[in-house]
């Protein structure tokens, strides 16, 4: 990836992180940890990978995105606002009564949302349905989904894993945000889904393991996925829960908690400093 492209994606990711903290601070409710963990891949998907046009939101040939770990939707709302699907002011209404930005994504409320999710394990199945439909009708679009590593504890995820392999859904790319933490602590302490890569390989998927905060690796993984024929691809990404906000990083306690005034100011300060540093780069 050339430097300019990387700089652009990093800038978008920082803007997404700013959107995430703004949403959750405004609502005084929401899930910052997992949202911050996927900000980089969401930046890559919306600003580099997917064929989605804010001017043509209903285009039937557009790529589809399903956020299977629906609680991390602040990252997606922030990206959609950046992309221009709706005004940035909406972010401040997140989780508030009458808002078009529900606590978990709803395709009927928010422009740019392709599927309603939030109950873990169901989004990956819906993504399978979209990919199957594209195959059955010869449609060219691809289907992208993001799962949490804790979400893999849901049995339905493995029903979907069988299904995607059975129907050779090579137009489907799942991304597992492997940040290692869930509400009650480490995933390996609560109910370990590890070894995640071996499990998916055993279920017949093409498996790619990356650093979820490295844009070169993210790009290489999605490019590789396009070359895989006859099987679905999963990108297992090692990530940091709360990435980008010093006091939230790797803290399970920030799974579903809103920052107070001081914490919010601190988060904005850190993200602005990162943006300034990025701008200063040649």
């Amino acid at each position: 990836m050339d430097a300019e492209k990387r700089k652009f994606l990093e800038k978008q990711a920082l803007e997404i992180r700013k959107g995430i903290v703004l949403e959750i601070y405004s609502a005084q409710s929401g899930h910052p940890g997992g949202s911050l963990a996927i900000a980089d891949v969401v930046s890559y998907l919306y600003f580099m990978e997917m064929h989605v046009d804010a001017q043509k939101p209903e285009d039937e040939k557009r790529d589809r995105f399903v956020l299977s770990k629906g609680h991390s939707v602040p990252a997606v709302y922030a990206a959609l606002a950046l992309k221009g699907d709706f005004p940035k002011e909406w972010l401040k209404e997140f989780r508030k009564l009458g808002s078009r930005l529900q606590g978990h994504p709803n395709m009927r409320d928010t422009p740019g949302i392709d599927m309603s999710t939030g109950s873990l394990g169901q989004g990956i199945s819906a993504a399978c349905g979209m990919a199957l439909s594209a195959k059955a009708c010869g449609d060219p679009y691809r289907v992208y989904t993001i799962l949490g590593d804790g979400e893999l504890e849901e049995g339905q995820v493995w029903e979907a894993a069988m299904f995607a392999a059975q129907y050779k859904l090579d137009n489907l790319v799942a991304y597992v945000d492997n940040n290692g933490l869930q509400i009650d602590g480490k995933i390996t302490d609560v109910m370990s889904p590890e070894p995640i890569t071996d499990k998916y390989a055993a279920f017949g998927w093409h498996v790619i393991e990356i650093d979820g905060h490295n844009f070169d690796e993210i790009e290489a993984a999605y490019k590789e996925a396009k070359t895989v024929k006859g099987k679905p691809t999963v990108i297992v990404a090692h990530s940091i829960k709360g990435k980008g906000i010093s006091y939230m990083e790797n803290q399970a306690s920030w799974h579903g908690k809103a920052p107070n005034d001081e914490e919010y100011a601190q988060a904005v300060k850190e993200l602005d400093a990162a943006l300034a540093k990025l701008e200063a780069q040649a």
Binding site: E60, V66, D114, M115, A127, G129, S133, Q156, A160
Partner: protein
Amino acid sequence: MSEQKKVATRDAYGKALAEFGEQYPNLFVLDADLSKSTKTAIFKEKFPKRHFNCGIAESNMMSTAAGMAAVGKIVFASTFAMFAAGRAFEQVRNSIGYPHLNVKIGATHAGLSVGEDGATHQCCEDIALMRSIPGMTVISPADAIETRAAVLAAIQHDGPVYLRMGRLAVPVVNDTPSYHFELGKGVTLQDGQDVTIVATGLMVAEALRAREMLKADGVSARVLDIHTIKPIDDELLKKAAKETGAVVTAEEHNIIGGLGSAVCESLAENYPTPVVRVGVDDQFGQSGKALQVLEFYGLTAEHIVKAAKEAIQKKK
């Protein structure tokens, strides 16, 4: 009654899918390793590229159907009522109901008439579960003719539909030139003045049989076939309550939460009237021949007759 033609509603369902598959190229069918029992295999035979077996994984099937509908398909997802409404309830609620997607849940083997498989497969709670989901249309056809019409109506309806079918061959009661199916509208099969029997599914044929028995006792009973349990036909129920003053409900379902409850809710608000409910009295079923099981749990014309007399007694 004379020799009646009997057809299982699940047979009519499979045939209807195959029939309308021609006219609706956007129609897809999913099944969960039961296509020979749910009869979606009839569709598969004709349209193999539009039928997908999801294996024994109903939760995934329902959310997969939702994903297909989210990209513009009309999807029928079929399995037994127990697994469609029971096991996959939350998938139906969150993946299908909440976004109001065009998924039609073709649930067969509903109720006690599953017979020998026993309680684990005799779903008598599905109407209650499905009608509690906002925006869900719930249809329980009485016979083969109504099933065919219901499948077409479900295809043409924009939004989720739960279609309840049975395993057992049941009498064809709607084989009349004037038969007309309209979603949300009940069918008046027989007129009467003393009491109204409101029935659904295979209990409609029993209601007609009960009417003959009541007639012999000098009682004139009206028979309504309520194929759409949600939205229920408030007007038709109110009219019947007003004109006959007593109501009996008859369903192959728990009397809690099903047709009986829906009728009581409607009448309590619109025209309070004595109601006696015939159905499964808050019990689990058991193995046995379908007709024996139905008899054991009181789902027969004889029980409807008894209930009708009770309802008439309750008139002021």
